[in-house]
């Protein structure tokens, strides 16, 4: 027993000894020499504009300590305070508060200069005051969330009585349409998530984070789906459609949270003028999501109460509001990557579910090759593509 314990611990002890040796002897210092400059890397995390102030949180993303010496705004030295000091170790952050009379609607460039004179620049493309958590902005974000998420999904759900009466071929078309819609969201979310991942500090390994979060969400939903199905079979056999609809709603809800996050942060960062067209685009775009939720119910000719429909709508739509709040008030790129990834994982799982349901009797390839399905896939993708154009 002791021997087994010893054998288990021995490699760990050797590893610890090796680490001590590396830290003590500092092989990289031998390579670097005395005058080798430190590797300095600062990332701008969140830049907020308050009346008369620029507030920027910066993170040391490099391996060495970075000391912030001075700040320049628009090519002028400017005074500042730093809430967590100016000496930043690896991955530590500080918030710089600069009393600068920024000009509404104009561009500003600010530079953080370190003790070695290295400059890190951040451009504020369009200066607008950043919303502070208050009743007014809370209300505005809620309203945007309603317009963009909840109401369109609910409207989409209203197709339920109509699609319930459709023929089998038509519901196949409809399910394929849903797959098309979701496939679009999958690609869209993945590309956006990977883009955000690229903008994260290198230490956060954005792409890995994205992939793992997406895979995690996929597997989690797979598990939840199995559990729901097992539970449903006891209570009320044959309600596969309902479970699938619920899973789609959850997937779409997660996706919409990411979408809300994007809208809220764009609004907060002043990086996008949140025009009416943009809201119209998202509204049209998301109406189709309601349709995607009810399609499996229609196929199984299930009886669904209005309350159940409302439940599905809320699950799919309400996260948009929450996303807008988070994006508007506490935005950070890490959140954005995580939620986009979770959305992607969820949607992938849902697509898998629907395809499985559609092909219960045959092969996937044969099912996909039928006319209504092909037409549905194409139509779903086309609808998303065209309405997506409105969003820009």
């Amino acid at each position: 027993m002791t021997r087994r314990l010893f054998l288990g611990v021995l490699p760990l002890a050797l590893l610890a000894a090796l680490l001590v040796l590396i830290v003590r002897s500092g092989p990289t210092d031998l390579v670097r020499g005395d005058n080798y400059p430190p590797v300095e890397r600062l990332m701008f995390q969140r830049v907020v504009l308050e009346p008369g102030f620029i507030v920027a949180s910066v993170l040391n993303d490099g391996p060495d300590q970075v000391t912030i010496a001075q700040v320049q705004v628009d090519e002028a030295f400017w005074t500042f305070t730093a809430d967590s000091g100016v000496e930043l170790g690896h991955l530590s952050r500080t918030t710089l508060r600069i009393p600068y009379p920024w000009v509404d609607g104009e561009a500003h460039l600010f530079k953080v200069l370190t003790s070695t004179g290295t400059a890190f620049e951040h451009e504020i493309a369009v200066a607008v005051e950043t919303p502070t958590p208050g009743i007014r902005f809370f209300g505005i974000f809620t309203l945007i969330g309603l317009y963009v998420g909840v109401i369109p999904v609910a409207i989409g759900l209203l197709w339920f009585p109509f699609v319930k009466r459709l023929s089998v071929g038509a519901t196949d078309f409809l399910l394929a349409l849903t797959v098309g819609l979701l496939a679009f969201l999958l690609v869209d979310g993945a590309s956006e998530g990977l883009e955000s991942a690229g903008m994260l500090p290198e230490s956060f390994q954005g792409v890995v984070l994205f992939a793992l979060a997406a895979a995690g969400a996929y597997l989690l939903l797979e598990g939840v789906g199995a559990w729901l199905r097992a539970r449903r079979q006891k209570v009320d056999a044959g309600r596969d459609g309902w479970v699938l609809a619920l899973l789609i709603a959850v997937g779409i809800g997660l996706h919409n949270f990411g979408e809300g996050l994007a809208i809220g942060s764009a609004f907060a960062l002043g990086e996008a003028a949140l025009g009416t067209l943009l809201i119209v685009g998202f509204t049209l775009h998301n109406t189709t999501e309601g349709l995607a939720i009810v399609a499996p119910l229609a196929r199984d000719r299930e009886r669904v109460s209005v309350a159940d429909l409302a439940k599905l709508g809320l699950i799919g739509g309400v996260p948009t509001i929450a996303g807008a709040w988070v994006g508007g008030f506490v935005y950070s790129p890490v959140w954005s990557v995580l939620f986009l990834a979770i959305g992607v994982g969820a949607i992938a799982q849902v697509v898998g579910q629907i395809v499985r349901q559609m092909t219960r009797e045959g092969s996937v390839a044969r099912m996909l090759a039928t006319g209504p399905v092909l037409a549905g896939l194409f139509a779903g993708f086309a609808v998303m593509y065209v309405t997506g154009m409105l969003v820009g």
């Binding site: 010496a69 030295f77 400017w78 005074t79 200069l113 070695t116 004179g117």
Partner: protein
């Protein structure tokens, strides 16, 4: 601060070498800079939120002392004697001998912000040389830096003393003696002329030479005299300056205004050694001054409140403060002014 301390150690080694090699270095004088100075952050003064934060390390280069130091006049006699000797000559002129060495050193150019400079005698600008017209100047130059360097003096001299011609650069560890007459009178400059020229100059290898007119011409009237070198630093090495200053340290004379006396003549020896920008300028608030371009005449050529100088151009400015209080002076290129090239004179009523 790991790296800074390493750099400081490296610097101390170099300084030690300098002492050994030539016995010319006061260790106390050089052991300063390089350590992270006070970057204590404080909210801005009410009116001036523009500007740098914090104060430089107190044991580094002192821009206020530099203003009125020539021929190492700020050093104790014994230390000074190692770097500067003057010997009267039969014709009434002086032989002035200087020990100048080049050394790599981190200097603080704005509070908490360090620049890997190449220096003459550990400081930027280098020590100011001051002689009288007709004196003999002999400069023993030791290159203790890591690259070849030279000294190119502006003034009358034969090509062998130019420092800029092929083969005239002094390799690391070697010595060269420059010898020439102080001529003409005026305010001049010296700088490294080794290629690449831009880098050797903007890294800090430059200084001022003042040549006073010989007595027979009638000397300039007594005045409070100040040496001002307009310079700048490109900390990111992209051929654009991040920091501008007069005498190296951004906003030094905002933190410590230059003290002058109402009614007393003030003379400024102004030299432009800014690299990368074609011109620099000097503007004084609430006053006018007489300009003696290059200082080569005793008659003023213009009276103005703003003067523009090309790189290497210089002038003597004379004025007398009429009113007590603070008088701002800065480059009249707003960009330079806001990037550190701004300061104050503080005029006080004469003590009775």
């Amino acid at each position: 601060m790991l790296v800074t301390s390493l750099t400081r150690r490296a610097w101390l080694r170099a300084a030690g070498f300098a002492s050994l090699a030539s016995g010319v270095v006061g260790a106390a004088r050089l052991s300063g800079q390089g350590q992270g100075g006070g970057t204590a952050l404080h909210p801005a003064h009410d009116a001036h939120i523009m500007g740098t934060v914090g104060t430089p390390a107190p044991d580094g280069f002192n821009p206020t002392t530099f203003l009125q130091t020539w021929n190492f006049s700020d050093l104790p006699p014994e230390e000074r004697a190692r770097l500067y000797r003057e010997t009267p000559r039969p014709d009434g002129t002086m032989l002035r001998e200087y020990e100048i060495f080049s050394a790599d050193r981190e200097i603080e150019i704005a509070p908490g912000m360090f620049f890997p400079a190449w220096t003459y005698n550990g400081q930027v600008p280098g020590p100011t040389i001051r002689a009288t017209e007709g004196d003999r100047i002999r400069v023993t130059f030791r290159n203790l830096g890591s690259h070849p360097h030279s000294i190119h003096f502006h003034g009358w001299h034969p090509p062998a003393m130019d420092g800029a011609l092929a083969g005239q650069e002094v390799p690391p560890g070697e010595t060269f003696v420059y010898e020439f007459d102080a001529d003409p009178f005026g305010v001049h400059l010296y700088h490294c002329h080794t290629v690449p020229l831009k880098r050797h100059i903007h890294k800090g290898l430059y200084g001022v030479v003042i040549v006073d007119p010989r007595a027979s011409r009638g000397s300039r009237p007594p005045a409070d005299e100040f040496v001002m070198v307009m310079n700048a630093f490109d900390t990111t090495f992209d051929a654009e300056n991040e920091v501008y200053a007069v005498n190296t340290v951004a906003n030094a004379y905002v933190r410590e205004p230059i003290r002058v006396t109402v009614g007393q003549l003030v003379r400024v020896y102004l030299v432009n050694l800014t690299e990368f920008d074609p011109i620099n300028s000097f503007h004084l608030h609430g006053m006018f001054f007489d300009v003696y371009r290059t200082g080569t005449s005793l008659v003023t050529s213009e009276t103005t409140d703003t003067i523009m100088l090309c790189q290497g151009e210089r002038a003597i400015l004379e004025t007398t403060f009429r009113y007590p209080g603070d008088f701002m002076f800065h480059a009249h290129q707003s960009e330079f002014a806001e990037l550190g090239w701004m300061g104050f004179f503080r005029a006080e009523a004469p003590s009775t």
